[in-house]
């Protein structure tokens, strides 16, 4: 759905992107991670046909961003990091303006605006002037605008920046709903926990170079890191810890706050054997820790070194 081939952007005195190769399949939720100045926004601007690459090519929905920009804009919904809303316009007027800007036929615009207002839970704010809305609601209006032409691909640049925790959770729910609808999401952020919940793939960018890209678990395996497992038993925790520690695929087992934490690098089938062994110690919890994107990020990037 999104493909970058040797994408390079050179601003003359600054190489913003260097030979970026990236592939995002249809239906993926791709988290594009990187520190400030890594080249995330440059990549996104190229994909959104706002900038031309110095070298290489990029495709969105099979269309070249350089040679077929209008086709790309037809299948792409773009939400910039700093979005502008117009004062003196009502929410429905704003959305209708963008529906017209995306060349949606006039008779269909009104219904479409109502549909996206319902989807983004903004129906009650339909007649409100945009300047009177909170930052979270403005963000939603902007997302609603992005959905107007029913794009197959959504590119969201730092969608949660500046939002309070509640608005962030609501936005996360909305994005989850969009992935359920089959949209391909390409989300840039440097707030990792917000991506960890619903992105099935990530790409880590630093100083214009893509350091790593792919499935989160595959990246972990590639980095020599196993899945973190958490076990809680009712009795003989020391013996259970010894059992885990002696298990071949388990590493770095330790007892933390009455629970056994260990890194597991083997198959799920072998994990079942370990579980059955632990049952005799009164096993009440055997869970896989959520992927720690921050950990991966810190392992992969070098910071200012």
């Amino acid at each position: 759905m999104i493909e970058c081939r040797s994408l390079t952007k050179d601003y003359g005195n600054h190489l913003a992107l260097s030979n970026l190769n990236l592939r995002v399949e249809s239906g993926d939720a791709f988290g594009f991670i990187g520190p400030n100045g890594a080249g995330k926004t440059t990549t996104i601007k190229i994909l959104a046909t706002l900038q031309e690459p110095s070298e290489g090519e990029a495709f969105v929905g099979g269309y070249s961003v350089v040679d077929q920009p209008d086709e790309v804009r037809r299948v792409l919904g773009y939400m910039p990091d700093q979005f502008g809303v117009y004062d003196g316009m009502r929410v429905w007027e704003y959305l209708e303006f963008f529906a017209a800007a995306y060349r949606v036929e006039r008779p269909k615009r009104r219904k479409l605006v109502n549909d996206v207002l319902d989807l983004t839970d903004l129906g009650k704010r339909r007649e409100s002037f945009i300047e009177t809305l909170s930052t979270g609601l403005k963000q939603r209006v902007c997302l609603a605008k992005t959905l107007l032409h029913d794009p197959a691909v959504l590119i969201l640049d730092e969608p949660a920046s500046g939002l309070d925790p509640r608005a962030r959770i609501e936005l996360k729910e909305l994005l989850r709903e969009l992935t359920r609808m089959g949209k391909t999401l390409f989300i840039s952020s440097h707030i990792l926990p917000e991506l960890a919940d619903f992105c099935n793939k990530v790409g880590i960018l630093e100083k214009g170079r893509l350091l790593v890209s792919g499935d989160v678990h595959e990246i972990q395996a590639g980095l020599g890191k196993g899945r973190m497992m958490r076990v809680r038993v009712l009795r003989e925790i020391e013996t259970a810890h010894k059992l885990v520690d002696e298990f071949n695929e388990a590493h770095r087992a330790e007892i933390v706050d009455g629970e056994i934490l260990f890194e597991y690098g083997g198959e799920y089938a072998r994990l079942a054997d370990l579980t059955s062994e632990l049952v005799r110690f009164g096993l009440v919890q055997f869970a896989e820790e959520k992927t720690d994107l921050e950990d991966i990020f810190l392992s992969v990037t070098r910071g200012d070194q």
Partner: protein
């Protein structure tokens, strides 16, 4: 929410797209909706009508005292008042219009909404036409709302409905060009304050140039046949029209830089320049040459030399992808410039081999064409020699100013030093005018033209060879920050 993508409209032919940009433009609708909700618009309209109303009231009170006087005196007073009213409206329109447009695009940049517009299916042309349309709609609203006041003149007489409509047409043209000036700077600058300063600067400068230009152009056509009665006006409007078009293209290119826009700018500029040169040459060949002709000629030449620095200083600005896409474009290849150069030489060759009154015109026309080429070539070579940090337009303007001003300085006060060191052969003004024929080393205009050509050719060739080494150098490898 489901929407079939096929329901979004196809782009269609050029005329269909143009029609859509003009009459089904979402940007225009949005601007009208937002603009007419602003208090500022009604304040401007109120002040405009109050000022005009006061002047009209004073006039009517004055006329009321003369109601029993001679009707022809009344008509004369009416005509004078109509002119006062026209100039008053013209100045107000010129001052109000840039304030409407100089913030239209820069505020979009300031509030980060321009990106969203450019990422939609709106073209840069749609955006610019929408913004321009809003400004013109408001100005037309002002002009129409003032019509009942201005139409009072018909009770007094002295002005025909034709004059009345013509005045409104002129006001509309003034609104169009000033709106476009504001929009051009708004697209160019990131901040509204900068765009406002530059727009008003150019509007005031343009007004001064207009007042200077109106005299020589009128002088040129004063001896013509009756069907040329409107020629000065028509030419002035054509000039304004093509300047507006160039600025429109420049604005579009600021929003979405593309070689096709730059090609269109260059082509429009060169066609208009050649048309100007051709029109004046044709006219001068068929009429006795007077003092006003030379002034008009020099004015046209100088204006185009300065405009060339603004409009065609980037004829080869291209991104790598555009290089592939537009490699057959005339501006991406030197053959176009060679053809342009040959045209100038042809005019000069005709002048050097001919005789009679037409020589001056031929040599001036040839040089006029050559000057654009020569200045562009010289500025490029000098910029290449000075390195990448020097801007070509800066060099261009330095060269143009130097060659125009230095020889004038040498020849001031009756100085007759015509040696090449004074640079007189490089001066567009002197070369197209011709030196006095009593100069012992020269034998009239054709010799001056020939000397100028040789001087320019030599300069271009020397600079080309001096800068060639620099041009051939490969750029240093970019430091990979990663």
């Amino acid at each position: 929410m489901t929407l079939d993508l096929s329901s979004t409209r196809p782009r269609g032919s050029f005329f269909r797209r143009l029609g859509r940009s003009l009459f089904d433009n979402p940007v225009l609708l949005k601007e009208l909706r937002m603009g007419l909700r602003e208090r500022r618009i009604f304040i401007i309209q109120t002040i405009y009508l109050i000022l005009l109303g006061l002047v009209t009231l004073i006039f009517l009170l004055t006329v009321a005292d003369q109601r029993n006087s001679d009707p022809s005196a009344l008509a004369s007073a009416g005509k004078e008042f109509f002119q006062v009213q026209f100039w008053m409206q013209l100045i107000m329109v010129i001052l109000i219009t840039p304030s409407l447009t100089c913030g239209l695009l820069s505020t979009e940049k300031e509030r980060h909404s321009l990106e969203m517009l450019l990422a939609s299916r709106l073209t840069a042309t749609d955006i610019v036409l929408g913004k321009l349309g809003f400004a013109l709609c408001f100005i037309f609203l002002l002009l129409f709302s003032a019509m009942p006041l201005t139409a009072l003149i018909f009770f007094v007489g002295g002005v025909s409905p034709g004059d009345f409509l013509k005045a409104y047409f002129h006001l509309s043209i003034a609104a169009l060009i000033t709106a476009q000036i504001g929009l051009t700077f708004s697209a160019r600058e990131g901040k509204t304050a900068h765009a406002t300063n530059q727009s008003y600067g150019l509007v005031v400068l343009g007004l001064i140039i207009f007042l200077i230009a109106i005299y020589p152009i009128s002088m040129v056509f004063q001896t013509t046949a009756s069907w040329w009665e409107y020629a000065p006006e028509a030419i002035l409007l054509l000039e304004i029209g093509y300047l507006t078009m160039l600025m429109f293209l420049k604005t579009v290119n600021h929003l979405r830089p593309a070689l096709k826009n730059i090609n269109a700018i260059c082509l429009a500029f060169i066609v208009a320049y050649l048309a100007n040169v051709g029109l004046f040459s044709y006219f001068l060949l068929n009429n006795p040459i007077g003092e006003g002709d030379v002034a008009a000629w020099m004015f046209i030449l100088l204006m185009h030399l300065f405009l060339a620095g603004f409009f065609i200083h980037k004829p080869r600005f291209i991104t790598p992808s555009e290089t592939l896409r537009y490699r057959r474009s005339p501006f991406a290849r030197p053959i176009f410039w060679c053809g342009f150069f040959a045209l100038g030489l042809f005019g000069l060759a005709t002048a050097c081999n001919g005789s009679g009154n037409g020589i001056w015109v031929y040599s001036a026309a040839g040089l006029a064409v050559l000057f654009i080429f020569a200045y562009q070539a010289v500025a490029r070579c000098l910029a290449a020699m000075m390195g990448p940090k020097v801007h070509v337009p800066t060099i261009y303007y330095v060269v143009v100013s130097t060659t125009c001003l230095v020889p004038t300085f040498f020849l001031s006060g009756g100085n007759t030093d015509y040696s090449p060191l004074t640079g007189i052969f490089l001066s567009p003004i002197i070369a197209t005018m011709g030196l006095p024929t009593d100069e012992p080393h020269l034998t009239g205009g054709s010799s001056v033209a020939a000397a100028s050509v040789i001087a320019y050719l030599a300069m271009v060739v020397i600079l080309f060879f001096m800068s060639r080494g620099r041009l051939a150098e490969k750029p240093p490898p970019k430091k990979d920050i990663a």
